[in-house]
């Protein structure tokens, strides 16, 4: 049918930016009742499509684990389809796998129900669903379909010729010159008509492909400018999930808006400014919304340079986005860091030897990446543990929560293709987690004492542990920088670690 496309014979993936940049997989650790689960959801490339699900239980005794996808908010959150039982690994009774259909773009949750020796428990995992790319046809399939297509076209034309030439003849008679001429004429007409149909089909295919491409996720466009020491951020809708016709509005479950942002652990925007190309200076700041789609922030004192800005926002239905832009900043002398602001400075990644495990902070404290010596591999779900110690190596007695959590981490690939802002419970935003768990009473207020990532076995003296862990997996091989924020007393510390990730 579409000969032009059949000849485009290689697999071609377009990677779009997304909630987190270049890091679509969802990692989450949480409790389904009595069972502590580590969940990985790998969303599909196309929507509708199949998401892959992996769950490891740290608690023994789960007999059956079922999963069901449903919309986070709205009418689709009311009825659930039939849950699927996940498959238990024959080697490890605590490891479960399965697959789930994600049917529409928008804010989804995967609801896991665990049944076992200790009773039943439910864990809802927020999963933003969006089409990331399209595929062109592989050579082999293209070749087979091309041959079949040409055969069908040729066959159709030949049949019309035969029908006109011979079909009405009495059995046993030979076609006369008139019959032969009539057959030839019919063949010519049929060729023209069939070719017109093929070109019409090609046009149709292209318009379907164009229509699909408008459904491929595009984050809100963000532009940044400086007015004195004030940073101004303007958002623009690039035309994703906008219903243009009645029919689209009728069936579109989610239409992206700019006026529906909700605070995520206390801030409506989390802005990471990372100096390029060395990734040697990082600021974690919190611009305020002035009006719909417009944010501003009085910058703290900043070193001059070319910065890439990653802005994390969350829509009311829990759909998270990371907006990206770049900005040249002159040396700014301004206010000091305050409140939840965080900052770190180190040597450019190009000067780093590879993996680093210990980062000495400006006040002499040390942050350590606690891990085994196994090489890091892409797409492997891992738990990243970081520990903060005083200059003498002891645990600080005054550990505090940073925006309601034991820590925050940003995983940044040095080529700029990956940015992921991770919490101790995983890749999901707090706002989405609260929606998923059905807690809409306090949307995205800072979490109190009982939160994932904390050691729940500790005595209830309100002393916080000096280590934090993050569930995550590197999405692709390459060199990464990890920025980890923890707090003791009023000091927010940012540790910087380098990681080399193999295939």
């Amino acid at each position: 049918m579409n000969l032009l496309r059949f000849s485009a014979a290689f697999l071609f993936l377009r990677i779009a930016a997304q909630a987190h940049v270049g890091s679509p997989d969802v990692y989450l650790q949480g409790k389904a009742g009595p069972y502590q689960l580590f969940v990985t959801v790998r969303p599909p490339l196309t929507i509708p499509g199949v998401a892959e699900l992996e769950v490891r239980s740290e608690t023994p005794g789960i007999r059956e684990l079922r999963a069901v996808p449903l919309a986070m908010t709205g009418a689709g959150a009311k009825f659930a389809p039939i849950p699927d039982a996940l498959n238990v690994s024959p080697k490890d009774p605590r490891f479960f796998t399965g697959s789930l259909w994600m049917m529409t773009s928008g804010s989804w949750q995967v609801r896991l129900t665990a049944d076992g020796a200790q009773g039943q428990g439910i864990l809802s995992v927020p999963v933003p669903s969006f089409a990331r790319s399209s595929k062109t046809m592989q050579f082999g399939l293209g070749a087979i379909l091309s041959v079949l297509g040409i055969f069908l076209i040729g066959g159709l034309v030949a049949m019309v010729g035969a029908a006109s030439r011979e079909a009405k003849l009495d059995p046993g008679t030979q076609p006369s010159p008139t019959n032969l001429r009539s057959g030839r004429n019919a063949t010519i007409v049929a060729t023209v008509v069939v070719l017109a149909i093929v070109f019409g089909g090609n046009y149709w295919w292209n318009s379907e492909a164009r229509d699909y491409s408008t459904r491929i996720y595009k984050p809100l466009k963000m532009s940044a400018s400086l007015q004195g020491n004030e940073l101004l951020l303007e958002m623009k809708e690039p035309g994703w999930m906008q219903a243009k016709t009645i029919k689209q509005a009728e069936f579109r479950v989610f239409t992206r808006k700019m006026d529906d942002l909700v605070p995520d652990h206390g801030h409506i925007m989390h802005l990471y400014a990372i100096r390029q190309p060395g990734l040697d200076i990082i600021y974690h700041l919190h611009p305020e919304q002035r009006e719909t789609g417009s944010f501003a922030l009085q910058l703290p004192s900043m070193a001059a340079g070319h910065y890439r800005l990653y802005a994390d926002i969350v829509h009311a239905n829990g759909f998270p986005e990371t907006l990206v832009t770049e900005l040249d900043v002159p040396a700014i002398t301004s206010r000091a860091l305050a409140g939840d602001d965080a900052y770190a400075s180190t040597n450019p990644w190009q000067q780093s030897s590879g993996n680093t495990f210990v980062f000495t902070l400006p006040d002499g404290y040390k942050m350590e990446w606690v891990r085994d010596s196994q090489p890091l591999a892409a797409n492997r779900a891992m738990s990243f543990t970081f520990r903060l110690t005083k200059p003498d190596g002891s645990a600080p007695p005054d550990m505090g929560l940073y925006m309601g959590m034991l820590g925050h981490a940003a995983f940044v690939k040095t080529d700029g293709s990956v940015f992921a802002h991770i919490h101790p419970n995983g890749t999901a935003s707090m706002a989405a987690l609260m929606l998923a768990s059905g807690d809409t009473s306090q949307p995205a207020q800072p979490m109190k004492m009982d939160m994932p990532g904390m050691d729940h076995n500790m005595p209830m003296t309100y002393a916080l542990p000096n280590s934090v862990n993050f569930p995550y997996g590197f999405p692709s091989p390459g060199r990464y920088r990890i920025f980890v924020q923890m707090r003791h007393s009023d000091t927010v510390e940012t540790g910087v670690f380098d990681a080399v990730v193999s295939k």
Binding site: M1, T46, G76, P81, L145, A167, K168, P171
Partner: protein
């Protein structure tokens, strides 16, 4: 196919009639039965598949509905592939004399058309699979790979009709059995056409021009063809009756079987298979056409087509327009009209779930001109159907 008119208790009469039936059916060769089975399988499979998507949602290549559809392609491919090879290479094939030549092969015309359809259907399978990979699993009927599949099915249907017509035109016996089978195959074709038109003729669209344009373009072809080819006085009515009975049958039967959605989002609670919509009232304009055609045998063909086109569009509108309002009313939400059955992912905000007609954006003048256009389409469709019916009445191979 032949009627059995035995008196109760009259065994001799019964056995005679049975022998009569087998004599008549034996006259229709195996490959035509095979083709009839193939198109029936695709028809049932097609509607089953649509219901599957509306009730369960998730499928694989191996669902029974898909198997029924592809059985059509496989049957057509094997039966007609064999027929073509046998006619081409066997020295004493009975069909050798009554065959046409395509790519150096010899076989009756219909065998080539039907096997082409089988190949088109089988080609659509990997194409459709790739389409889902590239653009996501489609939740709509009208997509390029689906249309290739449907064209393949149509080709098997057309091939069956051509085989049947050729066989009928060559034989000297009474053509009663063949004509009845032609009527049935025409009904299958109309039912298949309505799969493609399903998305534009849902009840909420029945006050829009589109519904009257598409129903003018395709269904009259089948009715005119069947009427011309069989010469029956009520051929069009009977073909429309087959469509009506099949679709009502689905409303009665499908909800008897349990099914639950296996995909989200689920907006409507579904516990059983969801049937398609109540059939369009084609049977009324079809009856009007039969009455017209009985009285106008000597008319100029174009004049007849024009009047027939107008009768088709206007009578259909006159009955379907008010009936659509009934279908949106609570009175129709029952086991017979079946308007209470909704696709599980039909949003509560949708026109169907709210039982509200789609807003018409055309002015009265535009709508009127559109209906004139529909009459033109129906005229062409009827003329096309008649000429194809006449052609089928003459083919011998």
């Amino acid at each position: 196919m032949a009627s059995i008119s035995a008196q109760p208790g009259d065994l001799a009469s019964l056995s005679r009639t049975t022998a009569d039936v087998s004599a008549k059916t034996a006259a229709i060769p195996w490959y035509i039965w095979c083709a009839s089975l193939a198109v029936t399988s695709a028809m049932v499979g097609g509607y089953w598949d649509i219901s599957w998507h509306e009730s369960i949602g998730r499928d694989t290549f191996w669902t029974p509905a898909h198997m029924a559809i592809y059985l059509c392609g496989v049957l057509a491919g094997i039966a007609f592939g064999y027929l073509i090879l046998h006619t081409t290479f066997s020295k004493n094939s009975p069909l050798a004399e009554a065959s046409v030549h395509v790519f150096g092969f010899r076989a009756p015309m219909g065998a080539f058309i039907a096997s082409w359809g089988g190949i088109a259907m089988l080609t659509s399978a990997p194409f459709d699979n790739w389409w889902h990979d590239a653009y996501g699993l489609d939740v709509k009927i009208v997509s390029p790979p689906h249309i290739l599949l449907i064209i393949g099915v149509y080709a098997v249907v057309v091939g069956t009709l051509v085989l049947l017509a050729g066989h009928m035109n060559r034989s000297r016996s009474s053509h009663a059995a063949e004509k009845k089978l032609i009527l049935y195959i025409s009904g299958v074709m109309l039912i298949q056409f309505m799969i493609v038109l399903m998305e534009s003729t849902e009840r909420v669209y029945l006050h829009l021009l589109t519904a009257y344009l598409v129903t003018a373009a395709l269904p009259p072809i089948v009715l005119a063809l069947a009427s011309r080819l069989t010469g029956y006085r009520f051929a069009a009515t009977l073909v429309a009756a087959i469509y009506t009975a099949f679709r009502i049958g689905l409303i009665l039967v499908l909800p008897l079987f349990p099914a639950e959605p296996k995909l989200g989002p689920v907006y409507q609670q579904v516990t059983h298979f969801i049937p398609p919509e109540f059939p369009l009232l084609f049977i009324v304009p079809a009856f009007a056409l039969d009455l017209l055609w009985q009285r106008t045998k000597n008319w100029n063909p174009w004049k007849l087509s024009l009047v027939s086109g107008a009768v088709w569009v206007l009578v259909f509108m006159a009955v379907e327009w008010p009936f659509a309002s009934f279908l949106l009313s609570p009175a129709s939400r029952n086991w017979f009209f079946g308007t209470g059955y909704l696709y599980f992912a039909m949003p509560p905000t949708s026109f169907l779930a709210r039982n509200v007609f789609y807003p018409n954006s055309l002015s009265r003048l535009q709508f009127g001109l559109g209906i004139l256009g529909a009459i033109m389409l129906a005229t062409l469709a009827i003329r096309f159907g008649e000429t194809r019916g006449e052609w089928l009445g003459k083919i011998k191979r």
